[in-house]
Amino acid sequence: MNLPGTWLLALLARHLDEKTVESILVPTFADLQHETLRAGTNVPRRWVALVRGYAAIVRLLFGHGLLWRSQMRRLIGVLVLGGVGAALVVFLDFAADTRVGLGALFLVVMVSSVVLRVSNAGCSYRRVFVSCLGAGMIVATALCVWLVLPYNRLPHSRYAYAVFFVSLMGSVGLGSALIAAVASKPTAGTEPVYQRRLRHVAIAAAAFAACFVVRTILGGAQARAFWNVVIMPTYAAFVTFFFAAFAIAVYLPVMIGARRALPRLATRLPLAIIGAVLFPIPLLGIPLLQPDSPWPWHFYLPSPGVLLWMSFPYVVAGAVLGWLLAGRRHQSAGAAS
């Protein structure tokens, strides 16, 4: 039986100290569950119990500042970073300028540096630099190839791609050096469980594909319902494969690095948030690769609503990957002891 508040309590318990959980949170949630159970099958009474119980929890979290204690403060910091990233995405929609667009790529640098630094990063400078450089180069190459090959019939100069590719590589190198300089520490940890990680990536890719299918079918239901349904299975398989390869090459190192570097934050929610923030960012790079033509820009970023709709699968897949890659804090603490 799934009692009310079980998930929320488990979530909060990961980020608050044991004493607060035992003396304040558990009795509050116990009251919520007890009242709900006492209501039995009386639906109105059950709803009243739920509303009163959750209102007490909200009052506890916000009124008494429980949210601002230690670990929760870091979690909120990550949420704020995600909000800044989202604001930048919306801003990009209104400012059709490549220089502004480059800021989106550096958002990754800022987010990674701040999060890794604040969270006591455990990787050496060389390792951080090489990992970031490798991941960034793969991102840039994948995006360029992805755009040149399927869209080369469009009136775009390949020279423009080459010039932008070089400048992108320069940005990647600079960004990697900045991240490494800010976030690196002399010690490093090791934890290879590659098979499990790859399986998690496949699950995240499937989540992406599922969201993509739902989004496309719903989005094009009025215009081309028949064709959408016909091509969806093959297209979903394609995007799953593409996204899995993309995630393994690019995001997996980032997420694993974040997990290693965030020993106290290596819980499911923070990494899910980091994944949800990081995954949509390559969307922003697509218009940057086509500086001479306005159509991709207008195709991908016509309005904040469309952009959010487009980035939805990436957000979900990133969150799923982060969630799956995270370890259980209590287990790791138990293993350490």
Binding site: S23, P27, H34, A56, R59
Partner: protein
């Protein structure tokens, strides 16, 4: 005894002690209901936790019956220090009220 070490008894803590002394062992929610709106759900446990640190109350998990579901609630009861603090505070309040008479 310095001013910092003198035990204090704010209104909510005094109310909780009064309820516990008169009613015996109680759950947090029973305290809220008995206070007639003066104590709030959820936040009552913040006050109770603080009182437990001061040594005014002690708590234990409710005994679990077979087949019970849901999280166990906590039962609170006053300690002897809590009862003495309440008595001293009541005496002080009476004395002050007496001296304050015209």
């Amino acid at each position: 005894m310095t001013a910092e070490s003198v035990p204090t008894l704010p209104d909510k803590e005094r109310l909780i002690l009064e309820l516990l002394v008169s009613g015996g062992t109680m759950f947090g929610l029973q305290l809220v209901e008995a206070s007639r709106g003066r104590l709030k759900r959820g936040t009552v446990y913040v006050t109770l936790g603080r009182m437990e640190e001061k040594g005014y109350v002690e708590s234990e998990q409710e005994p679990r019956t077979p087949g019970a579901i849901g999280l166990p609630r906590r039962l609170y009861r006053p300690t002897s220090l809590g009862e003495r603090a309440l008595r001293a505070w009541s005496t002080l309040a009476r004395e002050l009220a007496w001296e304050g008479r015209p």
